[in-house]
């Protein structure tokens, strides 16, 4: 596997061992500029370990790990509890790891559809709002690599679709690479370029279509669930802003959910 200049991350046969046990082993992972890579796998499969290996917060016990020089990571954590004793407004949260100008903050908040939340306290945000703010915080750093740990966990469907669209938009406009950890293959697949299915080792990897039809994937996850989850996967492609207006996926704002009179897009059912 020859690395080239656009490689942000290049792991070759990397493994991490703790207490004489391999947490992950034999990991090959390349992320190049503008690529979306999703790591899936059951609990304890080593998804987070692999992500940490990639960003360099833990070292490999075997194999090779290469990172682009000057790689700047923007990280969106899985869950974040902020103690109520810590007074923290959204605009201060955007400054968390590096100084950012007020203009850049405004741009980032506008990009995630949350310009009205600048002075809100983070403890007052709903789950969906908080996730968008965390995304704004990561992107305001202008990262080359955006790392997201289960970004849509505990977020309702409307916000979930919105978040995925935002992530794609960020990728499209900044050209950053995206490394996403997810347990939910069906929804992530729409935008992802490469899926890495982990279970301590790489169970299978490749394009979304090739992974989902791989027998190893089917053994790990079972056949894709086309019942409950898929049925509810119609496109709630908008969010309700606090002033009563509605923001759509493309960023436009209108007064009702469906300005084009009930053109409810039911084509979006991806029965994968």
């Amino acid at each position: 596997m020859a690395s080239d200049k656009t490689d942000l991350i290049n792991l070759e046969n990397a493994g991490v061992r703790r207490d004489n046990r391999w947490l992950v082993r034999g990991i090959d992972l390349r992320i190049h500029k503008g690529e979306i890579v999703t790591i899936i796998g059951p609990n304890g499969a080593g998804k987070s370990t692999t992500a940490k290996l990639a960003v360099g917060t833990i070292r490999a016990n075997e194999g090779r790990v290469q990172r682009q020089a000057g790689l700047r990571v923007g990280y969106v954590p899985q869950k974040l509890h902020i103690d109520p004793a810590l007074p923290m407004r959204v605009e201060r949260l955007l400054d968390l790891t590096a100084k950012v100008s007020p203009d850049e903050k405004k741009q980032a908040l506008a990009a995630v559809g949350a310009p009205h939340l600048e002075t809100a306290f983070v403890q007052d945000l709903s789950g969906g709002e908080f996730q968008r703010i965390l995304l704004a915080r990561a992107m305001v750093r202008r990262p080359n690599l955006l790392v997201l740990d289960e970004p849509v966990q505990g977020v309702d469907f409307a916000s979930e679709a919105m978040l995925y669209n935002l992530i794609r938009q960020i990728r499209d406009t900044t050209g950053c690479g995206v490394l996403m950890i997810s347990h939910d293959l069906h929804i992530v697949m729409a935008d992802t370029d490469t899926v890495l299915c982990l279970n301590g080792h790489i169970c299978c990897s490749g394009s979304p279509d090739s992974v989902v039809s791989n027998p190893k994937y089917l053994r790990l996850f079972g056949a894709p669930d086309t019942t409950a989850l898929a049925v509810y996967r119609h496109d709630h492609d908008h969010i309700h802003l606090p002033d009563g207006t509605v923001q759509h996926v493309d960023g436009s704002i209108s007064d009702s959910c469906h300005p084009d009179k009930h053109e409810h897009n039911h084509d979006g059912h991806d029965h994968v």
């Binding site: 990571v73 004793a85 007074p87 968390l96 790891t97 590096a98 709903s126 409307a158 969010i239 009930h262």
Partner: protein, 287 residues
Amino acid sequence: MGMIMFDDFFIRALFAGIGLAVIVGPLGCLIIWRKMAFFGDTLAHAALLGIALAILADVSSLIAVPFVTLAICIAIMVAKRTPSLSSDTILAILAHSTLALGLVLVSVTGGRNVDVNGLLFGDILAVDITDLLVIYAGGGAILAIIVWQWRRLVAATLSPDIAEAEGLSPQRTEWLFMVLIALVVSIAVKLVGVLLITALMIIPAAAARRVVTSPEMMAVLASILGVIGVIAGLYGSAEFDTPSGPSIIVAGALLLLGLTFVPRRLSAANDSPAPHNHHDEAGHDPK
């Protein structure tokens, strides 16, 4: 307050207390945010062992106390890796065994010459020029480090995961934080005593919480409230002939009590949007 005599010792105490209050303001905030009050308490208790060792070995407590508190820091970090005991239990064990050992050693070596009361509750009126020098030089250095590392300290507090992924090494920051607490405790033990140090650190910070909107504001206000508490407490102790250390803490607690009656988030009430606006439409069908 015409009856107050501005004796040298009183002025020294005032300066010592003010200096200490300024230093502990931001640290007290970090302790509250990190829920580490018990950690501070443990180091304070261990400081007594440091004083006992200083007497025993006939060395300056300026050396012995930081030595012991830093050793306890390391002991806590090592013990935390032992999964069989919770950190709560570990802290309690270390706090009280070091306190007990300190008291035993003090009674063995110093006999009746040692003022145990002063060790437990401090004797800020006995502050001398050397102490003042330590507070302002050492404390100034500590404060400079806090300011310099502030963004990392807040980031590591809010989310070690983010800090780590974005290259801020929160583990190192946590070590730094613990060392700073150990050093401040070492400085403070003579002024307010083993039992009141934690209160000195967290009461002004807690009092500040209600009326601030950012971590920086809270840190600064905690220092200011701490200074007010020191001044009020010292004048009060002179006025009513009460022990100085406890008087400072009582003044701080009264400030805290007074501020709890300030309407909640006074400065924030007008620009914070209503919490939880309608994001739960997943269940309802807009048709």
